[in-house]
């Protein structure tokens, strides 16, 4: 059975590129446009990996990660590894991510092989 990955990014081009890359590597990929849509999905469905952008409207990626890790509504996904995929490369921001429960931080632009390698490390 294919592993399920939720990708969350407000840029539709980036979502398409991630989906092409991960689908090609044999994963089942689901999409959300921002943190709120992601939470709605994470409340009901169990995923094997969550990939989040940082800067998004409505709810940013780090706040979304913190909610998933700390709130009971998302208990089915509390052990799911969270990976950030963002243009942010600031160390302070990375530390915020780490405190929110993020397991890996990839800076954009991403190379497809690197993205697959990181996902394979967790799945």
């Amino acid at each position: 059975m294919k592993e399920k990955i939720l990708i969350v990014d407000d840029d539709s081009t980036i979502r398409s590129l991630i989906k092409i890359t991960l689908t090609g590597a044999g994963y089942d990929v689901y999409e959300a446009e921002d943190g709120l849509e992601a939470l709605s999905n994470l409340r009901k469905n169990k995923f094997d990996l969550i990939m989040l952008d940082v800067n998004m409207p409505n709810l940013d990626g780090i706040s979304c990660a913190a909610k998933v890790q700390s709130e009971a509504d998302y208990s089915i996904n509390q052990k799911t590894p969270i990976v950030m995929l963002t243009v942010e490369s600031d160390d302070e921001m990375k530390q915020r991510g780490k405190r929110a429960g993020v397991r890996a931080w990839i800076t954009k632009p991403f190379l497809p092989d690197i993205l697959i390698n990181v996902v394979q490390k967790f799945l």
Partner: protein
């Protein structure tokens, strides 16, 4: 009110003075003086009243005018103050615009540059991929032309033709083998019959030999018996004749069998010859098969070579696609940069509106704070570099940090 006091005062004063004049000069003379005083008291207030009314009118006009003047001066003062502030703001705005506009220009230039670079790179990559695919198609076509014949345009055609040729040879070979097998089987049956016939001829010959010996003994016995044995001698002679006939028949049979045997030998030789021909035909088939195999080997070699070329080119195409995917991500970065510029410009517009409404002063004047806020809002290193007008290096590789 003043007039009322005035009248009360005049009436009181008039009464006292009238009493004084009546006592002093008598009623007749005093009456003139009192009358004159009363008239004076009536006329004077009337005159005063008329004068007061005029004064009141003038005062109202003056007040109104004064109010207008004050308002005018107030407005002028406000305008002067506003103009002063505006001048002050304009000075600050000019300073701010001097700083901010080049930064916005840098951001927009950066976005434009990223867009142009990405589109150029994407175009180049697609062109390169088309070149690789053309090369692959060319290699495939030349590989086919190397191994194919007249009516063979693809490797499938070569395979189909070889298969047909091979099948034809196999059918012919099977047919010939069947005929020879059948023939040999028949000869084998005939051989058995001939053997039986030969044994029968030998049996007849043995019977004839024994019959002849028997007839010889009977003749001897008949001669010894004399006249009595004459009839018996005739029988013995007949038996001798039969024995000779049997021997003759046996001899004929043996001769015929020999003939049959020789004919069979010839037929067998013919069969062997057919077998030899079949062998030759087999050799021909083998040759055809070998040729077919050689061609298939060539096809295989070409395919292996082609596979190697296609593998290399597939890797190249994959690398190109990876590069294309990296360049496609420019849209995200450009979108973020333009989003920040847009937010900043909108905020700037709101500030200008607030200045127009004279609501805020300190906030607008602190342009350094404005620039600091801009700097804090950036998400990428390239935005910070553009802010300071530094040369932006293209970032092509992703960095990965694990927190485990």
């Amino acid at each position: 009110m003043i007039l009322l006091f005035y009248w009360v005062f005049l009436i009181g004063f008039g009464a006292v003075t009238s009493y004084f004049f009546v006592n002093q000069y008598g009623l007749s003379q005093a009456s003139y003086i009192i009358a004159a005083a009363v008239l004076t008291q009536i006329i004077f207030p009337i005159l005063y009243l008329l004068k007061s009314r005029r004064k009141m009118k003038d005062k109202n006009l003056f007040t109104e005018k004064l109010k207008q003047e004050i308002e005018k001066y107030s407005q002028e003062a406000a305008m002067k103050e506003k103009d002063g502030l505006r001048g002050q703001y304009q000075g600050t705005m000019e300073q701010l615009l001097e700083k901010v506009l080049p930064i916005w220009a840098n951001h927009i230039e950066n976005s434009q540059s990223q867009t142009e670079n990405a589109i150029t790179a994407l175009t180049m990559r697609f062109k390169k991929m088309v070149g690789i695919l053309d090369k692959a198609i060319g290699a495939s076509e030349s590989a086919v032309s190397l191994v194919s014949g007249k009516d063979e345009k693809t490797l499938q055609d070569v395979y189909e033709k070889s298969k047909e040729s091979f099948k034809k040879e196999m059918r012919q070979l099977k047919k010939e083998q069947l005929v020879i097998k059948k023939m040999i089987s028949r000869f084998s049956e005939l051989g058995n019959i001939v053997e039986e016939l030969r044994m029968m001829a030998e049996d007849i010959e043995k019977v004839a030999e024994k019959t002849r010996l028997l007839a010889l003994n009977a003749s001897i016995e008949a001669a010894r018996s004399g006249e009595a044995g004459r009839g018996f001698a005739v029988v013995a002679e007949g038996v001798t004749n039969l024995s000779e006939l049997s021997a003759h028949t046996s001899k004929n049979m043996t001769e015929k069998i020999t003939t049959i045997s020789e004919t069979m030998g010839e037929a067998l030789s013919a069969a062997k010859e057919a077998a030899d021909q079949n062998m030759a035909s087999g050799k021909s088939s083998k040759l055809t098969l070998r040729e077919t195999l050689i061609r298939l080997r060539q096809v295989m070699d070409t395919l292996i070579e082609l596979e190697s070329i296609l593998n290399d080119e597939s890797k190249q195409v994959k690398n190109e696609i990876n590069e294309v995917m990296v360049f496609f991500q420019f849209s995200d970065r450009v979108s973020q940069i333009l989003h920040h510029v847009h937010d900043n410009m909108r905020e700037f517009y709101y500030h200008l509106m607030r200045i127009e409404e004279n609501e805020t002063k300190e906030e607008v004047l602190d342009f350094q704070k404005w620039l600091d806020n801009m700097l804090q809002s950036y998400t990428t290193e390239e935005q910070k570099m553009a802010h300071f007008g530094q040369k932006i290096e293209e970032k092509r590789t992703s960095e990965v940090t694990f927190f485990d």
